[in-house]
């Protein structure tokens, strides 16, 4: 299937690409060769470094080390403008379109060809008609973009790249926003483009799409390019294996769970995102006292919305939440009331939600509990009590430096996370909702945090753990449910499953593999 002329240089060659953001090593010595005229898939878990790599190719970041070759020539790409000049076009998951403008105006944007529009508009209109005929990419140039379907909007994005002379098209998770029918149309479109000798790099985490569409597939894991296969010579289990890897599972001393009464139950919970799209489509589960229920899944499959709904931050649009067997009234589904009835919540994103970065640590350490009398009776706060309380929590969770007056932003990620955990756990909640507890946290802190979460379980608390790190799910959970596309695709016990099995469930393949 991959019949590339032996001597022609590859369309893209990335050699030894390395990129760090502070302590996070996003790309480690990555090598990738994409031959001309093929559809090349890149798969990997969330945070594996796929998007960083493509951002380097498109000039958003510059690599710390390494070389980029386009058609065999070493190039330096410092901006998207330079990427376009080298024939690289990018279609982002979130479209870069101006909804009130027409298709023509959107395509022209940045390529107007002079101070007056008429001449450029004529040229682009002609070009759009040509592209429509050549590739079957027909779209009404005078339609308002905001009124087009998502699939057509994506087509406009592709046309934008083609009009600018893209020979290499990079699509970042293009099907995330599409219906299955629209995705099929997209694949058809991409096959036509390939037949016209365009090169396509297709980033996804859905194995089904890789198998259906690509000629070749490269797998990234933890910033490294771990393998490249001919698609026809591989299989979803092999890819899942490579994606997840045979990682050393962090071992923590953890006795068997002693589950007690049901503390939290969800029945047919439906949760919509801000745009009204159902991100959780009828999820049911129970969580007992004294157990850790892990929710696994690739990021963006409804876990965040589920967690927010359980914590009362996001309204659910269907189904029931029961706490200690009693349905939680709608009026009580807010963070304030839920905290009072004993639901602690460590949010997935400490920067965005869990902490207030410009605040002193002691002030961040009372967020959500600011009404409590511990911090002062009546109107005025008792500063001494606030500082003493924070100092106690910081001591209990080994937050370093133990400085309640230091600005929150000045702590390292691990210590910020410990501060959040200290705040939520030290209040002794009955139910603890934990989202991505060790994201961006160093190894030492990970071990510490894991021990604390297990200690909560052993103290009879009901712990719900949402994590995109399979390691973490395995290390902590007593039971695992897997979400894909907002639905539960399976439930497993950690000692009766393995990474490959979970990887398939996460990719939406429901039948049990070996």
């Amino acid at each position: 299937m991959t019949s590339t002329a032996g001597m022609a240089p590859p369309a893209i060659a990335l050699i030894g690409i390395d990129k760090s953001f502070g302590p996070v090593h996003a790309n480690r010595n990555v090598n990738l060769v994409v031959e001309r005229g093929v559809i090349h898939g890149i798969v990997g878990e969330n945070g594996a470094g796929k998007s960083t790599l493509m951002s380097i190719l498109y000039g958003f970041y510059e690599a710390d080390a390494g070389e980029i070759r386009v058609d065999g020539e070493t190039v330096r790409i410092r901006s998207s403008r330079e990427a376009i000049r080298h024939g690289i076009g990018m279609v982002f998951q979130h479209f870069m379109l101006v909804p009130p403008l027409t298709v023509l105006e959107n395509v022209m944007l940045g390529a107007e060809g002079g101070a007056l529009l008429a001449r450029g508009a004529r040229a682009i209109r002609r070009r759009l008609a040509e592209l429509g005929r050549e590739y079957g990419l027909e779209v009404d140039p005078d339609a308002i973009v905001g009124e087009l379907s998502v699939g057509l909007q994506q087509r406009v994005e592709i046309l934008k790249a083609l009009v600018r002379g893209a020979e290499i098209l990079v699509l970042d998770e293009p099907t995330a926003v599409l219906t299955p029918a629209e995705a099929d149309q997209l694949f058809e479109m991409l096959r036509v483009l390939k037949s016209q000798d365009k090169t396509i790099v297709f980033i996804t985490h859905k194995l089904r799409e890789i198998m259906a569409l690509t000629d070749r597939v490269s797998v990234m894991r933890r910033g490294e390019m771990v393998a490249t296969y001919e698609t026809s010579a591989t299989s979803p289990p092999e890819l899942a294996d490579a994606m997840v890897g045979r990682k050393v599972i962090l071992k923590i001393d953890k006795g068997p769970a002693h589950p007690g009464r049901v503390a939290l139950e969800a029945r047919d919970l439906v949760v919509r995102d801000d745009r009204g799209v159902a991100r959780v489509g009828g999820v049911s589960f129970t969580l007992r006292e004294g157990e850790i229920l892990g929710i696994a899944g690739v990021a963006g499959n409804g876990q965040s919305e589920l967690l927010e709904a359980l914590a009362g931050i996001r309204a659910s649009s269907g189904g029931e939440i029961l706490i200690n067997g009693r349905p939680l009234a709608l009026a009580q589904r807010n963070p304030h009331d839920e905290r009072r009835i004993g639901v602690g919540h460590v949010p997935e994103d400490r920067h965005r939600a869990g902490l207030v970065m410009p605040f002193e640590a002691c002030e961040s350490a009372m967020l959500g509990f600011q009404h409590e009398r511990t911090y002062g009776r009546g109107w005025l706060y008792d500063r001494k009590a606030i500082i003493a309380d924070a100092d106690k929590k910081m001591g209990a969770f080994d937050v370093r430096p133990r400085a309640p007056l230091l600005k929150t932003a000045n702590f390292s990620g691990g210590n910020q996370q410990k501060l959040v955990l200290a705040r939520e756990i030290e209040r002794n909640p009955k139910i603890l909702l934990v989202g991505q507890p060790t994201r961006g946290v160093d190894i030492g802190a990970i071990e510490f945090i894991h021990k604390r979460i297990v200690a909560q379980r052993d103290a009879g608390k009901a712990v719900l753990l949402v994590s995109v790190e399979l390691d973490e799910i395995f290390a902590l959970s007593d039971r695992i449910i897997v979400l894909c596309g907002g639905r539960v695709t399976g439930e497993r016990k950690p000692d009766e499953t393995n990474a490959r099995d979970l990887g398939l469930l996460m990719a939406g393949v429901s039948e049990r593999a070996a």
Binding site: Y61, M357, F359, M366, Q370, L380
Partner: protein
């Protein structure tokens, strides 16, 4: 992406950066004076002499400063909630109406209870007028910058109509109310001091100054020592975290604008109850807008606001002297300085951060990526 700024020591952040910003504004102002053909150093001398040279100058300086403390606090309080209240001018104007109506119609109140009632009325009217843009921001997503600007025009039109057609004393040419009774006024310092046999030249400097200092203290207490202040700062710094913490950003928005409007009412107390003793057309004279410059320069901290307000009081009083002594320099020079302060302390607040950080760190800054 640009290189992260090296963290500054706190003293540099709190004191040095604002000083550098203000110094830049004054240096440019000096160049303007030079361009006009006057000696900037001589101008500064006259300005400071006029503002602080004698007790009369000091009285006027502090009288102006009192208004600026109130309007500055009003803007600063909203800053903490992440809101930019540009409507202090209009809120102070409407507050004047409240003060006047109370002082003129509640004459049955005993003694200085009338003045107290008038002060409360000023705060209530200011708050009520601010509440509308606050509500629109909180529940209707209308941006408060736009609505408060528009509400300044509404205030101006409404007050113009009321003063010309409704409240004007019949037979009078001036668009103003009749004078308030003695007990409806805020006493001036020279009156009080004369009771004790101390002589102070006649100036409009009145007890509102103490009220302003008290307000500054209360604002400090509110912002940094109360639950409400904590909620206000959380919403201003990170609305997502506020929601996570069970705080309603909409409610905080409304409360912050109410308090801001009430503070704006303090200007009516100073000018209408403390000096004019009647409501007059366009009495706010742009002081509400100066409050923005004061809040920016004072970095939204009550102490900074007091210092910045005194500086602007000096500019207004000394500027009048300067315009008198040097006819080539008009009072508009003060507006120029004010504009430059807004430019350097507000719009270009971070312009000197990097050089200062570099200088302090004594090493070469990383080039921007």
């Amino acid at each position: 992406m640009s290189a992260p700024l090296a963290p500054l020591p706190q003293w540099a952040d709190v004191a040095l950066i604002p000083l550098v910003n203000v110094a830049a504004a004054f240096i440019i102002s000096g160049l303007v004076v030079l361009a006009i053909g006057e000696n900037p150093l001589e101008a500064v001398q006259i300005l400071i002499g006029g503002a602080l040279g004698d007790l009369e100058g000091v009285g006027f300086t502090l009288y102006y400063a009192t208004s600026f403390i109130f309007t500055g606090l009003a803007v600063a309080l909203c800053f903490h909630a992440g809101l930019f209240n540009i409507g202090v001018e209009g809120q102070a104007y409407i507050a004047g109406l409240g003060a006047a109506l109370a002082a003129l119609h509640l004459g049955f109140l005993p003694g200085y209870a009338l003045a107290v009632a008038a002060i409360i009325a000023a705060a209530l009217f200011g708050a009520a007028f601010a509440a509308i843009p606050g509500y629109l921001q909180a529940y209707r997503d209308s941006h408060i910058v736009i609505t408060t600007i528009m509400f300044n025009y509404i205030a101006s039109a409404v007050m113009g109509y009321l003063l010309v057609d409704v409240l004007r004393v019949p037979g009078q040419m001036n668009a103003e109310t009749e004078a308030f009774p003695e007990t409806g006024r805020v006493p001036q310092f020279h009156e009080i001091l004369s009771h004790f046999g101390v002589h102070w030249p006649v100036t409009p400097f009145n007890l509102s100054f103490l009220l302003a200092l008290a307000a500054a203290f209360v604002v400090w207490l509110l912002i940094w020592r109360t639950r409400l202040g904590y909620e206000i700062r959380t919403v201003g710094a990170n609305p997502t975290a506020a929601v996570y913490g069970g705080i309603s950003p909409a409610r905080v928005t409304i409360v912050a604008t109410l308090l801001s409007g009430a503070l704006a009412g303090g200007m009516a107390v100073n000018v209408i109850l403390g000096e004019e003793h009647r409501l007059i057309l366009e009495y706010t004279a742009g002081f509400g807008f100066v409050g923005i410059a004061v809040a920016l320069m004072g970095r939204a901290h009550p102490v900074g606001v007091i210092l910045a307000a005194i500086l602007f009081g000096m500019l207004y009083q000394g500027g009048a002297e300067l315009a008198f002594d040097k006819p080539k320099i008009s009072r508009d020079m003060i507006v120029v300085i004010q504009g430059l302060v807004v430019l350097f302390a507000g719009a270009l607040e971070h312009m000197f951060r990097r050089p200062v950080a570099t200088l302090l760190a004594r090493r070469t800054a990383q080039p921007p990526i």
